[in-house]
Every structure is written in structure tokens, then in C-alpha cells.
Symmetry: C2
């Protein structure tokens, strides 16, 4: 059978349609950033490049597969998981994203050469669902996590998707496991969307197959109780992220290399690492948290400072929320700028350093009590004030999350 030119052209286009789609999606994401989400909305039609909530299937666990729920007062972070999970495969050879499925929680079967196991082609997000005082379950600013997840995906050559579709699928998963959302304002349900490259081929290259899955775990406090404020080791020997790297993406590769430094901190009697950068020892992040400093400037005004989004730190959802809440409070200057250890030491010596605290989804807001730096221990009076800022912010966040009043950041799941 002869093939005419038109048929040939059609085949060429069909065989490349996924690449075209991905190129268009990449372009969309950049446009979205440039325009802002509001203006972008009117141009949005991304359904071609994503899995769809409308195609979600649900297979419920058998009664004998259901696990017993733990005592919420005993909950440790990330140890216990709910009865179901969400799985969505991506296979370039099959046209891209497949249909999402909620299934009973089970192990994942991977080819031993799967790229995630060798080259860390992997990324994740962390967000939480809260059982409000009105009994409704709310998720905190999931749109921000979805935007960040898509940016991380681009950084690893993994496929992007429509974040709203994933939010809807995850909400359904939470509904299925809703009895796992703790009935307690000290606990919540941690949501962990994860995207991994599963091509069973060696060689450092883009993964043509991927698995996006989400697991849920009821969680209590991230750090041990009775020891709320954390001590830090600031050792300029170690660097977490650098310009031209990926320190601002939530990729697995940012975490593995931190284990040995975290172990050193614990050996030195500290709880977390304060990551420094550069010859002037800029402070960047605390363990897996962003960091804030409240101090009094030379004019006697209160200033809340936090390192800028310069590629060296993760753009935290809690970080952004704290900045916005502090702006609403209105009684302090807010600065996103470089902070050096010299400045921390000087402010502390001059009694102008009021508070240092970390922020993150897992830990929420975590006061810092001391920094072990170049052989001396810097004591921080974070918890020694009446009505400290970190507590005000934490209470405000908590009130939003647990539905003490309606707020656009805490979105009830239907």
C-alpha cells in the first residue's frame, strides 16, 4: 500500500504529539509564572496534558485489610499509614498519563534498574489535612504545593500535570480514609504526593515512565514532646545548596546528602542543622525548615527577616503564609534578605535578637533556643518573652487550619 504525503505528515505529527504537548505545557507553566495565576486562568486549557479526576477509579480495601488506628497522643511523624493510596502511572509509549486509581495501601513493585533507585529521579510534596472544630476536613493551600511539585518535575525531567486534578484525586483519597483524620487539634493527616521515575534502564537520562502516588499518615508533633524549642549546629564545613543547583526544588537529591550532617549535629548534642552558605556564613535553612529572625533594628523598630528566594532555599508554603500573616499584623517591618551569622552574633550580643524560629508543613512553627557555631554556643531568647511572635503566628495558622474561622487558605474537602 502506498503512503501519500498527507498520511506521512500525519504519522510524523502523531508520533511526536507527546513531545509537542510537553513543550506546550512547559510554555504554559512559564506563562503562568509570568502572568500570575489570576490572569493566566482565562487562557487555561491543560486537560490534554494531565490525568483526569473524572477518570478516577476506587477499589476499597476488604474489611480484613483495614488497620487499627493509633492513639493520637502517641503519634510519631510518618510511622503509620492509612488504608488506601492513590496511584497514577505515566508511560510516554502509551500516550502519557494513565487513569488515576485509589487502591488499598500496598507495596510498590519496581524494576531493579528503575531510575529512581539509581539516579534519584524523584520528588515529593508535603501538605496536611485538618479536622476542624466544626467537624469539616480542610486542606491547607494545596495549590501552592501543586505549583511547586510541577516546578520540581521540570527540574528532574519528570512529567508535569494539572495540579487541580491531583488536588481533586487526593481529596477523594482523604474522603475514603476520612476516619484517619485525627479528631484532635494537636494532630493532622499528613499528605505525601510522590513522583518517581520508573524506567527500568541504566544510564543517566530522562525517565519515559513515571509513577505519581500519594500516601497519607496521621501525625502528631514532628519533634519530640517536652522539648519544644530546638538547638542547632551551624558548621560552615557543610553546604546544602548552591547557585546553579536545585536547592529550591523539593527533590529527593536535596535530602540524602543531609543525613551525615544531621548525624553529626546529634553527636554534638544538637537537634538540627542550620545550613550556612558562602564565606560570610549566610543562614539559609534549618534542617528541613525555613528560618525567621525577629530583632530590633538600630532605630528601635521590630524587624522580621528571612532569607530570600535566591535558589538556595525551598520556597516554603508555611514561609509564605507567615510572611503574609506578619504583614497583616502590621506592627513590624518584614525583610526577605541575606542574613549572616555575624549579624546573628552581633544582634544577640547587643540584646537586640528577640526570636529565631523555623517554619515548615511538618513542624509548623518551631522556636530555636541555641546555635552551636565555631565552638561557642549562642543562646537565643526565643521562648523567653511574653506573647512571642512565633506563638502568635502559630496560633493564627492553627486557627485557620482547624477552621476556627473561615479563611481562603483552608479549603474544606467536599
Amino acid at each position: 500500500m502506498a503512503i501519500n504525503t498527507a498520511q506521512c505528515a500525519c504519522r510524523w505529527i502523531l508520533s511526536r504529539q507527546l513531545k509537542f504537548k510537553q513543550a506546550v505545557r512547559s510554555c504554559h507553566l512559564q506563562t503562568k509564572q509570568a502572568l500570575g495565576p489570576e490572569e493566566y486562568k482565562q487562557y487555561e486549557d491543560e486537560s490534554e496534558f494531565t490525568f483526569k479526576f473524572s477518570e478516577l477509579t476506587t477499589t476499597l480495601a476488604e474489611p480484613n485489610q483495614l488497620r487499627s488506628k493509633p492513639d493520637v497522643s502517641e503519634l510519631k511523624f510518618g510511622q503509620v499509614f492509612t488504608d488506601h493510596m492513590l496511584k497514577i502511572f505515566y508511560h510516554e509509549a502509551l500516550g502519557g498519563w494513565q487513569k488515576p486509581a485509589i487502591i488499598p495501601f500496598e507495596n510498590i513493585s519496581l524494576h531493579p534498574a528503575a531510575k529512581v533507585l539509581h539516579y534519584a529521579i524523584e520528588l515529593f510534596e508535603g501538605l496536611k489535612a485538618y479536622r476542624g472544630v466544626d467537624g469539616k476536613i480542610r486542606v491547607f493551600r494545596p495549590d501552592l504545593n501543586m505549583n511547586r511539585m510541577n516546578l520540581s518535575a521540570k527540574g528532574t525531567g519528570l512529567p508535569t500535570f494539572d495540579g487541580m486534578e491531583l488536588i481533586k484525586c487526593m481529596n477523594r483519597l482523604i474522603q475514603v480514609d476520612q476516619e484517619w483524620v485525627p479528631h484532635s487539634e494537636a494532630s493532622s493527616l499528613y499528605i505525601r504526593p510522590t513522583l518517581i521515575g520508573i524506567d527500568g534502564t541504566l544510564g543517566v537520562a530522562k525517565s519515559n515512565s513515571a509513577l505519581l502516588y500519594t500516601i497519607l499518615c496521621p501525625v502528631g508533633a514532628y519533634f519530640d514532646k517536652g522539648n519544644e524549642s530546638v538547638s542547632l549546629l551551624a558548621d560552615p564545613t557543610y553546604t546544602r545548596a548552591w547557585p546553579g543547583g536545585c536547592g529550591d526544588r523539593k527533590m529527593g537529591s536535596n535530602y540524602g546528602p543531609t543525613i551525615r550532617v544531621q548525624s553529626k549535629a546529634v553527636r554534638k548534642g544538637c537537634q538540627q542543622v542550620l545550613w550556612l552558605y558562602g564565606e560570610d556564613h549566610q543562614i539559609t535553612e534549618v534542617g528541613t525548615m525555613n528560618i525567621f529572625m525577629l530583632y530590633v533594628n538600630e532605630q528601635g523598630e521590630k524587624v522580621l527577616a528571612t532569607p530570600p528566594l535566591n535558589g538556595l532555599i525551598l520556597p516554603g508554603v508555611t514561609r509564605q503564609s507567615i510572611i503574609e500573616l506578619a504583614q497583616e499584623l502590621g506592627n513590624m517591618q518584614i525583610q526577605q534578605r541575606t542574613i549572616t551569622m555575624n549579624e546573628v552574633v552581633r544582634l544577640q550580643q547587643e540584646n537586640r535578637l528577640l526570636e529565631l524560629f523555623g517554619s515548615g508543613t511538618a513542624c509548623v512553627v518551631s522556636p530555636i533556643s541555641s546555635i552551636d557555631y565555631l565552638g561557642s554556643s549562642i543562646q537565643i531568647p526565643t521562648t523567653q518573652h511574653s506573647k512571642p511572635l512565633y506563638e502568635t503566628l502559630r496560633n493564627r495558622l492553627s486557627a485557620i487550619q482547624y477552621g476556627h474561622f473561615e479563611h481562603p487558605w483552608a479549603i474544606p474537602i467536599e
Copy 2:
């Protein structure tokens, strides 16, 4: 029943014996580096801290599980795997390393929260087995890979082991799959030992369970044929490694973040990335290879230069072998030192730059033809000499690997 002091002390020791063992092993590894392997041997008794080859069990694949072997002339890198694999579990709660097992090649089943899938707690090695001209199968310098693998393990909080025991287990695996070692001097059997953290718990922390496994794949040339010399993109926007990071360990986290930059290189018509570091644009690595430069100095002498082991590059086994072979050749100076792009450009302009080539287990020795740098294309005459050094070194390495003569680097498996 009353417990006396002696019983109490014994329990305390027993409950901590694994930590003691690991501390002692860590100390051993440092001593081994300080003393050198020869002197260290007399003190060696590491059997307590490792799995043992003597406990290896083998389960052969059923005849219907055996796969057909590919045509060696068609072999691409890392696409086809042999019939068996080696698996060794580590569970701190069970006393550490379990018995090694060779089993039919199969998928790996992981808890969805396994640390390897979220925090890149993973590392690997790459080495090769060659079918010599005398029919014997030889492995190239496996001891160096084992030393590096243990150093990587320490960097990720994963358990260390006796490298000699793993070599023996891997040799047995190669024997079982010996028909997969290509009968060709253009091909070899690539060996991929991999160590992953498999604790099914969220939270960035040491993994108390791990899986060490090894898979094998017959491989041809790493790069496509007919295009032996590679073109590079040198873009100072991107940085692979940083002082205080882990760029000198073979950890998964060094590879995931490179995918996007590699894609950019390909979009710009180049094959690989030349990774630069610092304001003076030091050259560090090429894609996944070390790099060498042969030039004529101002005194008219030939010099072979390569970046130093300063933490920013992987300490390659092929790199070390090339340095040692070049020393034997004796007709050039050899320098391990910082090389900047300015120097490369100047040497090329003054016609004193003779060769640039990459080295690695997968690619062996790979000549470089051009560098795309700050908008201009630097042409390198690597392949335009008669009897170029890269070819001499590659032929020499090949002769050792394929047993053209006996050499201590190429160790026949029994």
C-alpha cells in the same frame, strides 16, 4: 525476678552491639585509608560487620524464565539484563546484614514510604567483567569500587560491609550468568551494585533497613556509534557539586539534578555537559566522566592535566588507572590541578591544546571534539593527531581488560 548489675550491664551492651560494631567499622575504614590496604591487612578482622560469601545461597531460574541473549553488535547501554541478581538485606533490628542470595532476576517490592523513594538514600557503583582473548572472564579493579562504595555508604548513613565479600558474591553471580558475558572485545558485562535505604517511614533520617543488590547487563558502546568524539556544553549557570557537598560520592543525589542540564545541552546540539565551578569557571567533570587535557607547556613539554580530587569530582577508577598508565609511559608531565576555561581557550588559541578526553567505566576513554562556551564554539583537535594519547591509553586499558597479557588490575574470576 531481680536483675543484678552484671546482667543489666550485659543487656546494655547487647542492645547496643550493632552501634559498637558500626563505630568500630567506621574507625577501621579510616585506619585502612591512613595505612594503605597492604599494611592494614594484618589487622583485618571485619567478619562481624558484614554479610559473608560463605553464607551465599543460589536459586537458579527455571528454564522457562531464561531470556534470549541480544545480538552484541546491537547492544545499547543498560537496556538488557541477565537472568539472575544478587540480593542482601540489612535490618538493624535483626542484627544487621542478612545472608546473601542469588535469585532469578525479579522486581523489587518496596514500601511506598521507603526512604530511597523520597530522600534519595541510595548509592551505586559501576564496574565491568570482560571475556578475555583466552576465554577467561576478568573483572577490572573491583577493590577500588568497593572502597568507594563504602565511602558513599558512610555519606548516606547506610551500612558498610567487607568489600571482598561482595566481590566474591558478585563473582559467583557472574559465573551463574557467564553465558551473558559477550564474546567480543567491543562489549562487556556491566556490573551494577546498588545500595538503597528501605525503611518504610517518612522523615529525613538514617535508614535502619537497607537492600544491597547487584544486577548485570551486557553492554556495547556507551555513546552512539559513528560519532565517537563528543561535543560539550559548558554553561557557568549550572553547578554539579560544591565544597561541603557530596560531589565525590557515587550517590543518586548527584545525578537526578543533572537531567535538566543534559536536556539543555542536547537542545543546543551538544552531547554532554562540561560542568564548571566557581567564578573562574574551573572545569570539573564531563557528563558522568572525569576529564583529561593534554597540552604543550611554555617550555615545549607535553603535560597531561586533570582536575584534582578536591571534593568536586568523582574519584574515578578509570581516572586513577589513566594517571598510572600515563606515568608508566613516561613521556609527559602529569598534573592533578585546577584547570580553568580561560586556560583551555588560551591553549587552543596558541595551538598548544592537543587533546581533551573523558574517562569512565561506562565510556572507557572518550575524545572531546568541541566545547560550546559563552556563545562560541571551541574546536578541539583531539582526534586529528596520528597516534593520539587517548587512543594509546584506551588500547592499553583494553589490552589489560581483555587479557592480552596478565596484569594485576584485571582479576580472573575463578
